[in-house]
């Protein structure tokens, strides 16, 4: 299990290749399924100058590790990777990624979705959009909160 919090950008392709090479080797359960998700700073209408992500350093790591532990136990994961950035991010830049590995795809997909749902609403990050018109905190969405219900 790897959880990384960082300011700098990452190469999602390179991260995924490294993760896959590790978890599919016979030394680590010989996973047959790897699922990944990468979140990117949207720039749909050309207004965004940057996204600023604040977090709660004393809580972020432990909270995400607890989510990954839960997912690993629930779906028998052979491995899991979470990378999440904070600080100032440019439009088009990667924000975060999740990768999960399991023997079969259903478990890898379910664990990745679980981790995404919990990272959205239970990991202590706050996004602020800085545009030419000013800066606004991104509001949490009701459907993100409701998405957690399916895991209880």
């Amino acid at each position: 299990m790897v959880v990384r919090l960082q300011e700098w950008a990452f190469d999602a392709g390179a991260e995924l290749n490294r993760f896959s090479a590790n978890v599919t080797s016979s030394k680590v359960n010989g996973a047959g399924a790897v699922v990944s998700f990468t979140g990117v700073v949207r720039d749909t209408d050309d207004r965004l100058i940057r996204m600023e992500i604040e977090h709660y350093p004393a809580m972020t790591g432990p909270a995400i590790e607890a989510m990954v532990d839960h997912a690993t136990g629930c779906w028998g994961l052979a491995g899991a990777l979470v990378i999440h950035r904070y600080g100032a991010l440019e439009p088009g830049a990667p924000i975060m990624m999740v990768a999960t590995a399991a023997r079969h795809r259903a478990d890898a997909f379910a664990a990745a979705e679980y981790l995404m749902d919990f990272l959205k609403s239970r990991a202590p990050f706050w996004k602020k959009e800085v545009t030419k018109q000013g800066a606004t905190w991104v509001a949490a969405r009701d459907d993100d909160e409701q998405a957690l219900d399916r895991w209880t």
Binding site: Y56, M96, L119, K120, F125, W126, A140, E145
Partner: protein, 82 residues
């Protein structure tokens, strides 16, 4: 001595990232009542606690959570990670 930390717009409205307070508040809700009585900026930040989340010693809790033995309380808006 209790360490209080604020994030996102809660931090901006109060104008501080963290502070230490002497308090005899029994619960988070009691602490909020004490803070709101102090100054207008706290009243503004805590005007609608349904729009806020709270963690004690880095664990999410409800506003009825007890403060006995707690070292750090964090107030922040609903999280927007991912």
């Amino acid at each position: 001595m209790l360490n209080i930390v604020y994030f996102a717009w809660v931090r901006e409205r109060i104008g501080l990232p963290r502070e230490n307070v002497e308090t005899t508040a029994a619960t988070v809700a009691d602490l909020v009542t004490e803070l709101v009585a102090r100054e207008e900026r706290y009243a503004v930040a805590f005007a609608d606690i349904s729009a806020l989340r709270v963690a004690v010693d880095q664990e999410l809790v409800g506003f009825d959570a007890p403060l006995a033995g707690v070292r750090e309380v964090a107030f922040f808006p609903p999280m927007t990670g991912g």
